[in-house]
Symmetry: C2
Subunit: 157 residues, 2 copies
Amino acid sequence: MTEKAIQDYYRGKYAVCYGCGHQNPHGLQIKSFWEAEEVVCRYRPQPYHTAVPGYTYGGLLASLIDCHATGTAAAFMYRQENRPMDSDPPFRFVTGSLNVRFEAPTPIDTLLELRARVQEIRGRKVNVHVSVIADQITTVRAEVTVFQIPEGMEIFE
Amino acid sequence: MTEKAIQDYYRGKYAVCYGCGHQNPHGLQIKSFWEAEEVVCRYRPQPYHTAVPGYTYGGLLASLIDCHATGTAAAFMYRQENRPMDSDPPFRFVTGSLNVRFEAPTPIDTLLELRARVQEIRGRKVNVHVSVIADQITTVRAEVTVFQIPEGMEIFE
């Protein structure tokens, strides 16, 4: 049996996100999985996701980081409560801030690896660290602050 | 005569960026213009650029901010040297860090306005502040640090 990605558990309005919604046919549809103590997402940029020829567009990297961080926070909360990811109430997060440092150009013609860890949990606020690795080199590091959406609260309405 | 956008002056490898390259048919092709002391970009998200239904995806906003900031830095440098934007050597910038605060949900079915100012110039390093305004509300604020690419230096090779 193939392991389900964290994002495959998203339902309803959370399933249409351009970055991670499995119901958005135009979107990136990233998939994140536990690997030991980290959550990992692998993504191969499209040829048109260019910054300059041969390198990946920073906005795409920020997008991957954003959605991988919200997914990572959810995965950590389920694990902390020792609950399966399809159990209710669901843990879902929204991004409060995204701080991305581009440390080296990221090649485009390769499988990118995003590795994430939760660094701090304070109530509903979770800080996630994400690294982007391309051809064994860490090219981008990011700190993302995400907020847990209380079940039943319609923050977007 | 219609004013040319800053990005319309990009040539060669800078014209294929997914966010701002006028030669990338798959990309966002943002356009930024001077308005008094600010540089402004207006962009209408596609219906599929969703976070949750009705709201704009944060990764798209980060992408617009990123490219609008590099364009703004270039525009400021030309203005500071009192040079037309098609004069040589060209000012081109690469993003070093992108710090984005999502302060309120950004509606999707509207024309977004990004307003940017240069806050500090230290040698080749330029700090740019960018706000995203939707229906008269500032929903996102960002600080972007960009670096001027020395003419002839192939930082991506």
